[in-house]
């Protein structure tokens, strides 16, 4: 089969799944719906794999499958096709998306077994997958944007899936609108790029960037910054991260798929996709790095204090995304994508694991009511632990490799800085702490489960994905082993060679010093280890300790526990401000001014009419007087 057809199937398969389930949205047959949807996702994964192997067969210089289906829009010189590009980057992305996606679909069959609208759920899930594929496969900004917005509205639909709950519907709304703010920036960024390059095609833009002469850098910087605004929205960075924790209102598989593994990484993907452009604007890079580092630390601190299992994971996601942006900001694009992938594995795993826990706990999400679940949920516990080890950066687990690469680059890269590295290390410490805390509170220690709840291990459809993802979390890192280890162990860094052609290197990147690198690595391992141990002590050995600490730093704790009051500030100053402004516009501008002016005019006309009418007294001498006055006036005008 030709590439066109395979790519077509890759894209269409989830759409067909969507249509199948969408048209029978009333059906309650969970198994059928789930099977079809999972099959659709599986077929996509299959196609992606086939294409991936075909890509491998191609010579390294032209490792790229470009397919253009039809001309989408032609306006003036803007000619946009519905064209797709399967290259090194999109191959990795689509494999992650379809692979993890398929697993999550599978998991959902079990998870949604008792829902009354499973078809609708799977339809949305498939639609999301299709849009995500558009996002990562599109060969130009516009097709990417279609996917970009598409995943946004699917996320909106899925967050608000249980729409009868006001809060859940509101969370969906919040997610969409926050994303829209980012999208607006993205749009402007796209316009700016189009104004500079006259095209939306990634290839052409990147090719054009080989020679920066003649490119208006100010506009380019503005453009990239605006694109980054888009990324902050989609990828939940400061200051637009607020929607992601709320998005946990959706079903847990959704959180795993959309809000951990795939959609939220779109911003990273977009920037990596346009890496030559971003590299040419150092100012933007600095902003990205700083925002990333800040997000990483800030979200991690909030994660320390939360009690909701999904919220903890959500803040963890925000924090990990911060790492990715830190990586992008310092020019470590490869590391960013690497972390993106490993994060997709272990975070999806942990979300699904939490889903399994929640499922077992009958929709209970508060970790204070869990504990000691190790016994009841052995598989879940085991797989969850793998994710835990990966995320805290336990050596030889996948997260270790990717995170270490980022920390190293933030130190080593000419665009990096000591403070950025420091932030990364602190964040890593926090991560280790809150993740261990989560493990401890959920699975270890004494059971705090209410008596009426009887947790039990989930069925196989749910555990199989967990096992697969757990495995990936463990081994996923070996494709990008750091240099020092790689040299030592003679493991080639597949990752770097794979992306060699695609990702530009930060200009002025010096030789790595093995000593420096290993030192830093040790520091990070030490910090993470220490933090994990501390958490273990706090929550297993001496459960009273946290209380003591908290009471000592009450003010700070309240601040962090309430997420720095960011939501409240937004509500008070942005949302209420806007609503009040709009009301003022409506009541004082439309009704009070424009309409009133109209009425003033009509009142004036009416009163003038009334006044003139008074002149018609009915007295004929008065009328004769008018004649005389008119006569005098007319003659006077002419003569004097």
């Amino acid at each position: 089969m030709s590439n066109e057809i395979i790519l077509g199937i890759l894209l269409l398969s989830p759409i067909l799944g969507f249509l199948f389930n969408g048209f029978r949205f009333r059906s309650q047959n969970n198994t059928l719906a789930g099977t079809v949807a999972t099959l659709a996702a599986g077929v996509s994964f299959l196609c992606a794999s086939v294409l991936f192997f075909r890509l491998l067969d191609l010579p390294k210089e032209s490792r790229e499958i470009f397919v253009s289906y039809f001309s989408w829009i032609e306006i003036g010189s803007a000619k946009v096709s519905a064209s797709f590009m399967f290259d090194e980057l999109s191959a990795v992305m689509s494999l992650i998306v379809t692979g993890v996606g398929s697993l999550i679909h599978l998991f959902s069959i079990g998870y949604m077994a008792h829902d009354d609208r499973p078809s609708k759920f799977f339809a949305y899930l498939n639609l999301f997958l299709a849009n995500m594929l558009l996002l990562v496969l599109g060969s130009n900004l516009l097709v990417m944007f279609v996917g970009w917005e598409g995943v946004g509205y699917c996320s909106y639909l899925l967050i608000g899936f249980w729409f009868k709950d006001e809060a859940k519907a509101a969370a969906g709304l919040k997610a969409f609108i926050t994303n829209r703010i980012g999208d607006a920036g993205l749009l402007l960024g796209m316009f700016a790029l189009f104004a500079i390059f006259g095209t939306f095609e990634f290839q052409e833009i990147n090719a054009r960037m080989l020679d920066v002469a003649g490119i208006p850098l100010a506009l380019l910087t503005a453009g990239t910054l605006l694109l980054f605004v888009g990324a902050t929205g989609k990828s939940a960075q400061l200051p637009l991260y607020v929607w992601l924790p709320d998005a946990m209102a959706g079903p847990t598989p959704v959180s795993a798929l959309i809000h951990a593994a795939t959609m939220v990484t779109a911003g990273v993907y977009m920037i990596v996709r346009l890496n030559p452009v971003f590299l040419a604007t150092p100012a933007t890079m600095h902003v990205i790095a700083i925002i990333g580092a800040l997000t990483a630390v800030m979200a991690a601190t909030i994660g320390l204090t939360q009690w909701d299992i999904k919220k903890i994971l959500a803040y963890s996601t925000v924090s990990q995304l911060g790492y990715m942006f830190l990586a992008v900001g310092v020019g470590a694009f490869g590391a960013a994508i690497f972390h993106l992938m490993t994060h997709a594995f272990f975070k999806a795993l942990m979300f699904l694991g939490s889903g399994s826990v929640i499922h077992a706990m009958h929709e209970e999400q508060d970790v204070r009511k869990m504990g000691g679940l190790k016994k009841q949920l052995p598989i879940t516990h085991l797989t969850f632990a793998m994710g835990w080890l990966a995320i805290i950066g336990t050596p030889l687990f996948s997260g270790f490799f990717s995170k270490d690469e980022i920390l190293w680059m933030s130190w080593h890269s000419p665009r990096g800085h000591f403070l950025l590295w420091l932030a990364g290390i602190i964040g890593a410490g926090f991560t280790a702490f809150y993740m261990t805390r989560l493990m401890a509170l959920t699975f270890w220690g004494k059971s705090r489960v209410p008596k009426e709840t009887h947790p039990h291990e989930s069925p196989a459809v749910m555990t199989v994905p967990l096992i697969v993802l757990g495995t990936l979390s463990v081994i996923g890192g070996y494709i990008g082993v750091p240099h020092i280890l790689g040299h030592a162990l003679h493991i080639p860094n597949f990752w770097e060679t794979w992306f060699e052609r695609k990702l530009m290197v930060v200009p002025g990147l010096g030789e790595a010093s093995a000593f420096e690198e290993s030192l830093l690595m040790l520091i990070s391992i030490a910090v993470a280890g220490a933090a994990a141990t501390l958490a273990y002590i706090f929550y297993i050995k001496e459960p009273s300790k946290p209380q003591e600490v908290v009471s000592k730093i009450k003010g700070l704790y309240t601040l962090v526990y309430n997420k720095y009051f960011v939501d409240e500030i937004y509500q008070k100053f942005v949302i209420n401000g806007l609503v009040n402004l709009s009301k003022a516009f409506w009541l004082y501008m439309d009704v009070g001014f424009i309409d009133k002016m109209t009425y003033k005019v009509s009142d004036f006309v009416e009163s003038a009419a009334g006044g003139l009418r008074e002149l018609q007294t009915g007295n004929m001498q008065r009328y004769a007087l008018y004649i005389v006055v008119g006569f005098v006036a007319l003659v006077s005008i002419v003569f004097f």
Partner: protein
């Protein structure tokens, strides 16, 4: 008879006529009794007649006097119709005061 115009300039007649005309006009404007108003209108027409005749004399042209002739006929006709209307109105309104005729207004 010698020409009067040689001793009294034409404008004297015109000014006299203007005065009469304005007096008539004032009468229409201020009198309460409609019959007197009608008389005032006759006064105005007469004033105009004076102008015609004066010019007629000045130019030695007969048409001015012919016009006066017509005007008189019409003025008489007007008076006749006017008085007939006043009679009809009087029967209806039981009075000829100007204040009575303010039903139509606005």
């Amino acid at each position: 008879m010698p020409n009067i115009m040689n001793s009294i300039a034409l404008n004297h007649f015109i000014i006299l006529a203007s005065i009469l005309f304005c007096i008539g006009m004032l009468g229409v404007l201020i009198r309460k009794n409609v019959v007197v108003m009608l008389m005032s209108i006759e006064l105005m027409l007469n004033a105009v007649n004076l102008i015609f005749v004066a010019f007629s004399r000045y130019y030695g042209d007969a048409s001015g006097q012919v016009i006066v002739f017509f005007v008189m006929a019409i003025a008489a006709a007007e008076a006749a119709i006017g008085l007939a209307i006043i009679m009809a109105v009087f029967r209806k309104f039981r009075g000829v005061e100007i204040k009575l005729f303010e039903n139509l207004k606005g």
